[in-house]
Amino acid sequence: MSERTADVIIIGGGVIGASIAYYLTKLGVKPVLLERGDICAGTSGACDKAISMQSKNPGLHLDLALESSAMFPGLGEELGADLDYHRYGGMIAIENERQMAIMEKFVERQKNHGLPVEILSGDEARKRQPAFAPSVIAATYSPADAEVSPLKLTFAFARAARRGGADIRTGAEVRGLLTNAGRVEGVVTQAGEVRAGVVVNAAGVFAPAVGRMAGLELPIKPRRGQIIVTEPMPPMVHGEIWSARYIVAKYNPEMIRSEDPEAADLGVGLAAGQTAEGTLLIGGTREFVGYDTAVTPEATAAVLRHAVSILPFLAKVHVIRTFAGLRPYTPDGMPILGPVDGLEGFVMAAGHEGDGIALAPITGKMLAAYIAGAETDKRLRDLALSRFQQAK
């Protein structure tokens, strides 16, 4: 068995693991990143491209997102890669008075938290977004929403980390954790042991399996999101589009039930945006079905039914592909970040659900600073695993 020593081991080669690896190298720490499959082969490679501010809950969630958002504009240049990053803004379509009441409160709280956002009348909304159906009674608009290619972002982080001295290994499966007297000492992979005083669990939806190696129960569950891809077409939508139902589905899917019971079961809400190539990505669902990544005809139909009601032109557009990704859900919608009580050297960095792309830069920066001992962000206390353990 081969054995080697590193300062830090990161488990997981998704956008979060790659981001932490990159920001560590910026601080002079050269981590080993162990990825069971390939870089960006899991959740980060099976999502849409939105960097959404409007979908974030006002509070710590939105604060982190805004900080992360401010890091994006210069990131491509810093990483030496074209990330397909654009800040075209985003809109949330409101279909009825009930949604209007919820969104008015939501937007008011977001404004108070510093998010530039406003509610436009139906006609104003259609002026900005002519593709909206006449039935859209109003829409929010925020210039803060942006988009990025999640694949390009993840690979750019990984490549920049590698250039900075990180040892990034794919096909490296972590099978066990080495601990001694309440301290982490390394991991066991199929190719032997790797020793380090710090082990970062950035395994996303598979973080609970890594947690169990440390005797920890993590409240992370895979939540499936199905996404539909259309044929390429000329620009039809501007920036990112969501439906108010998407926001409701994210925070309280039961409220949709009276409108569409099947959509409530599947957690259907609209999240749509057009890629540089002209295809439209149309999401999505939020389903608890274990680790099943199959697509289903029921979800395709429910998502498209909802999408066509907001963007009627879609009725005449061909769908070329559907795919599903698993998002690492946590009960309070916030990631689990930072140290874990009782196991020194074990660091959590998972549970971002659908916010992993948007929160990747700030997550990487905060955790790298903590791990390198440069600075401990006070907010890590509120994001720690202990918030769930105390609740029990």
Binding site: A294, V295, P297
Partner: protein, 369 residues
């Protein structure tokens, strides 16, 4: 289209699919054939030439006549054919998702599925290949034989397999000229008898040649041919220009195996048969239980063998549904295998038989009875 009484869904109404449907219906299964085209028959109705083989293989009968008799057979036996019906997915629980001709979305739940989706023609990239007038040989054949439209006075044929040779002949029959037939390889790919026929009509067959580029402003006006050496490199100075209005590309076919891929079937790679293919056993059943394949999707051959494979799949699927006793099914299948093996003889046939044997060798034993 209702789903409640469907035992078997056949996808593709070409020679393989229709034969499968006929055989399964004959044995008492309720069969529904789906095809995305607005006419059944696959390529049969544009095949105005006589088929090869023995009397058992309907040798001497023209393709469209075989198509007519297959349609009559399926109709007589009660297999339904739904046209303009696009199958866009097969889900892990074996549900078949269809968009019908009148734009309805259906989810069908058959007990067995037979994939007879055929193959698509390969493209060839060269400067000018997107100009109107550059098309597949199959498209030329459809225009000439079905729509009675000659694409151009003079055509350049690329590829000397049977498709290239036969379509060249049919262009001549329709009153067009074939300025040249180029073949990159040093030898003609198709049957000598077809090549001899067009040679006698004065079509120059240039082996060791390819099309370097096509010129024209809004459409094909001419092409530059170039000789190739034994390593397929262009020989400098060998270029020559010809005047043509159409380039027909006949450089092989690729099995349309996407639906088999969706079913999670095990695949193998056999370039001689067109590339990535779902493996199957002697019953034409793939490694996904209840999913059968027949025709070009199992490796590109000819309509004659596609029809026999279809019959095999039809019998096997009906047998699996209990519509026919295993002993009786064994006799029926043996007769089909005998005809299939007879087709796969000779210099060309034996190579195909060997390649096909590799597929079944991999597919055998996937389902323990």
């Amino acid at each position: 289209m209702t789903q409640s009484d469907t035992d078997i869904i056949v996808i593709g109404a070409g020679p393989a699919g229709l034969s499968a449907a006929a055989e399964a219906a004959r044995l008492g299964a309720a069969v529904l054939v789906l095809d995305e085209n607005d006419r059944p028959g696959g390529q049969l109705f544009k095949q105005i030439h006589k088929f090869f083989g023995s009397k058992d293989h309907r040798a001497g009968v023209r393709g469209y006549a075989i198509g007519d008799s297959l349609l009559a057979e399926t109709a007589r036996l009660g297999a339904r054919i739904e046209l303009g019906a696009v199958v866009y997915a097969i889900y892990p629980d074996r549900r078949v998702a269809v968009i019908t001709a009148d734009q309805r979305r259906l989810l069908l739940n058959p007990k067995k599925i037979i994939l007879a989706t055929g193959a698509s023609e390969n493209a060839l990239a060269f400067p000018g290949c997107t100009l109107p007038g550059v098309m597949s040989a199959g498209a030329v054949q459809t225009m000439v034989n079905l729509h009675r439209v000659l694409p151009a006075d003079k055509t350049l044929m690329v590829g000397s397999g049977n498709v290239g040779l036969i379509v060249s002949y049919q262009i001549r029959q329709a009153g067009g000229k074939v300025a040249a037939l180029v073949e990159a390889a040093p030898v003609i790919g198709g049957y000598g008898v077809h090549a001899a026929k067009i040679s006698r009509l004065g079509v120059p067959i240039l082996t060791g040649h390819t099309v370097k580029c096509v010129h024209g402003t809004d459409r094909v006006e001419g092409a530059t041919l170039v000789a190739l050496d034994d390593k397929f490199r262009a020989v400098p100075g060998s270029e020559r220009d010809i005047e043509i209005g159409c380039v027909a590309i006949a450089v092989g076919l690729t099995p349309l195996a996407e639906l088999a891929l969706m079913c999670g079937c095990k695949f193998t790679y056999i370039p001689k048969l067109g590339g990535h293919l779902p493996v199957h056993d002697d019953n034409m059943e793939t490694t996904a239980a209840g999913i059968y394949v027949a025709g070009d999707i199992t490796g590109v051959e000819e309509a004659s063998s596609a029809m026999e494979e279809g019959r095999l799949a039809g019998i096997a699927a009906a047998e699996a549904l209990g519509r026919v006793a295993p002993s009786e099914a064994a006799v029926l299948k043996q007769a089909v295998w005998a005809r299939l093996n007879a087709l796969r003889t000779g210099r060309f046939g034996q190579a195909r038989r060997d390649a096909k044997e590799r597929i079944t060798a991999e597919g055998r034993g996937a389902h323990v009875v």
